[in-house]
């Protein structure tokens, strides 16, 4: 039942994606062009790269709201490095390192400090974003070396951008990791029942720490791509992205209660959302209208299983 409903969910996302393509192609003559679509992919690649590890984290029953703040902090750190004349390799190291450390802080708070992940990451979100504001204030950093632009603006081959190529490779890697390795199965087990997993010999806390650290690392990676693409850093960079990234994961069919979901759904949801965003832009519909749609979708998606469960037979009441 589990696998079947998941397949149905993913085929629904494919269906939505096809409808989207048909609609936008008929609505705008500029939509169906390989370069347009290549441009459109920038609407989701950076966020989707963070959505991949976050999906694993949510499957394991935790959550990280601080991802966008980590992106901002890593971007500020790289900007300061660039202002001191550091080269591209050092900047990349700074970006990834900042993300890694920030993720490790989250992981430590949750595993060692025993703070519920939502509270811990609300705290670190305020802390990281606050640090970005405290360091930068209302200034802008933009002394990036020209070679740094390659990550966000470069192309591997024809219209295939480096960002998109990176995302495809990572999506495949995450898919294999989650669905075909014992570590992936352990993540499902932890999300489904942490106590039982712990009793069957899974080092639950070590997994959780690793997942938080990985989410931080990939937020750092997203910071590199975003900063490289924009060529500048403000403390408000990636504001509100946590909502969009979490939406990708949940729309992708990952259960917020943990233990359920898959990478294919998350990838599809990222593409669907990215193209809705882009298509609405083509039609001159302001982005905030999109936020109504995303918000409503988010609620509907979690409501569907809840309603479906109640309809056929009223199950014995469980406490929330």
């Amino acid at each position: 039942m589990n696998m079947k409903s998941l397949l149905r969910w993913e085929s629904m996302l494919v269906f939505v994606l096809i409808c989207e393509f048909i609609f936008f192609t008929s609505a705008s003559p500029y939509f169906l062009d390989i370069w347009t679509i290549s441009d459109a992919s920038f609407n989701f690649t950076e966020r989707a790269i963070v959505a991949l590890p976050l999906a694993l984290l949510i499957i394991a029953g935790e959550i990280d709201i601080s991802v966008a703040a980590i992106i901002a902090l890593a971007s500020v750190a790289m900007g300061l490095g660039a202002a001191h004349g550091l080269g591209t390799p050092e900047l990349v190291a700074i970006g990834l390192g900042t993300g890694l450390v920030a993720g490790a802080i989250n992981g430590t708070l949750v595993t060692v400090g025993r703070v519920p992940s939502i509270v811990a990451t609300i705290g670190t979100m305020t802390l990281f974003r606050g640090a970005a504001y405290a360091v930068l204030g209302d200034r802008v950093l933009k002394d990036y070396p020209t070679s740094f632009a390659i990550f966000g603006q470069g192309y591997v081959l024809g219209p295939l951008s480096i960002e998109l190529a990176l995302f495809i490779v990572l999506a495949v890697a995450f898919g294999i990791f989650l669905h075909f390795t014992r570590w992936g199965r352990a993540i499902y087990a932890i999300g489904a029942n942490p106590i039982a997993s712990s009793c069957s010999g899974i080092a639950v806390n070590r997994y959780k720490f690793a997942l938080f650290t990985m989410t931080g690392l990939f937020s750092g990676l997203a910071a590199i791509l975003l900063t490289s693409r924009l060529g500048s850093t403000r403390p408000s960079i990636a504001q509100g992205w946590e909502l969009e990234i979490i939406s990708m994961v949940i729309l992708g069919g990952v259960s917020v209660w943990g233990g359920k979901g898959g990478i294919a759904g998350v990838v599809l949801a990222a593409v669907v959302l990215g193209f809705v965003n882009f298509g609405l832009g083509l039609l001159n519909i302001p982005g905030i209208v999109m936020s109504i749609i995303v918000g409503a979708l988010l609620i509907v998606v979690v409501a569907i299983p809840a309603v479906a469960e109640r309809w056929p037979m009223r199950v014995a009441r469980k406490t929330p």
């Binding site: 400090g113 811990a120 705290g123 305020t126 405290a134 209660w257 209208v289």
Partner: protein, 320 residues
């Protein structure tokens, strides 16, 4: 346990006040303290609502969006009928707030959807609706009637209406939580939903009530905010929900539910308010506010996590 924490935190807040006063003798002048309280009043009102929600194991990320949407509705209503007077305005504000809050509550109660996803969703829906209502335009001071603007600032016995409302909410919440059935039931429902259920309390209904009250307060604050700052637009109070939640966490409300006191929450608000008002005096840029909030949240949640471990291990055989 809770009251001892409140006492300790109260002393800490006083120490903070003392330290600021030492540097700036004028800070503790009654006039200035009243101003700080006036500045913190909206935060207090919202935090009391948020506390009820967290007490019953929920979280309300949509308060700031509710505030902004209601503020816009009220501003538009006032522009349409400038002579209608205060009572319709306040009624509209309360009604709109109650409806928006009850919508969250219904989804959480009847469909048992996860609170964080529901309110993340409604947060972006409510924000988007403001844009649709206002078409992105601002409602400015010259489009607001005199009654509309002056009520918030009206003084009675040296305190503004805002201060009196905050005081009324504090006293009301203390009395309601201590002496009414619903108040006691909220602690019971949040502390141990299963036990509460067996003793005839429906935890979901308590959550619904909490969300509705939080919504009503957010709606009222929508009017207060718009009248106080004399402007309404899509992005007012953007991100303010985090300060509200921060105030609760700093004030010792446990995210796991069932633990928290009104006094603690008010102290948490005052702490934030004092920091916010003292920073510019001490010559630290206001950009540090968020970072300091983050540090204080983390310190507070780490401490309460330790307390919880000690308590739970002895009192509860099995959590959840």
């Amino acid at each position: 346990m809770t009251s001892r924490r409140d006492l300790a935190f109260g002393l800490l807040t006083l120490a903070l006040l003392g330290a600021v006063t030492l540097a700036f003798p004028g800070f503790a002048a009654p006039n200035n303290l009243v101003e700080v309280f006036d500045d913190t009043a909206i935060l207090i009102l919202l935090a009391i609502g948020q506390m009820l929600v967290i007490l019953t194991r929920g979280i309300d990320l949509s308060v700031a969006a509710n505030l902004a949407l209601t503020g816009m509705i009220v501003a538009l209503a006032n522009r349409a009928m400038p002579d209608a007077g205060l009572i319709p305005i306040v009624s509209i504000a309360l009604l709109s707030g109650i409806l928006l809050g009850a919508f969250n509550g219904l989804l959480v109660w009847k469909l048992r959807l996860p609170p964080i996803v529901v309110t993340l969703g409604t947060m972006s829906i409510y924000r988007g609706v403001i844009y649709l209502l206002s078409k992105g335009a601002w409602v400015n001071e010259n489009e607001m009637s005199r009654d509309f603007l002056s009520w918030v600032r009206a003084e009675f016995l040296g305190l503004t209406t805002l201060c009196w409302l905050a005081l009324a909410a504090i006293v009301g919440a203390i009395l309601a939580l201590r002496f009414t059935n619903i108040g006691r039931d909220m602690y019971a429902a949040g502390g141990n939903p299963t036990a509460a259920q067996y003793s005839g309390i429906e935890p979901g209904r308590m959550q619904f009530i909490a969300y509705t009250v939080s919504g009503a307060l957010a709606g009222l604050c929508g009017y207060l905010w718009v009248a106080r700052f004399a402007v309404a637009y899509t992005d007012i109070a953007l991100g303010f929900e985090l300060q509200v939640i921060a105030a609760c966490l700093i004030g010792g409300v446990a995210i796991a539910g069932g633990v928290g006191s009104v006094i603690g929450v008010v102290l948490g608000c005052l702490f934030i308010g004092i920091v916010r008002n003292a920073l510019p005096l001490v010559g630290i840029s206001a950009f540090w506010q968020m970072f300091i909030n983050g540090l204080v949240i983390l310190a507070a949640v780490l401490m309460s996590a330790r307390h919880r471990d000690q308590k739970r291990s002895t009192l509860e055989a099995r959590a959840v």
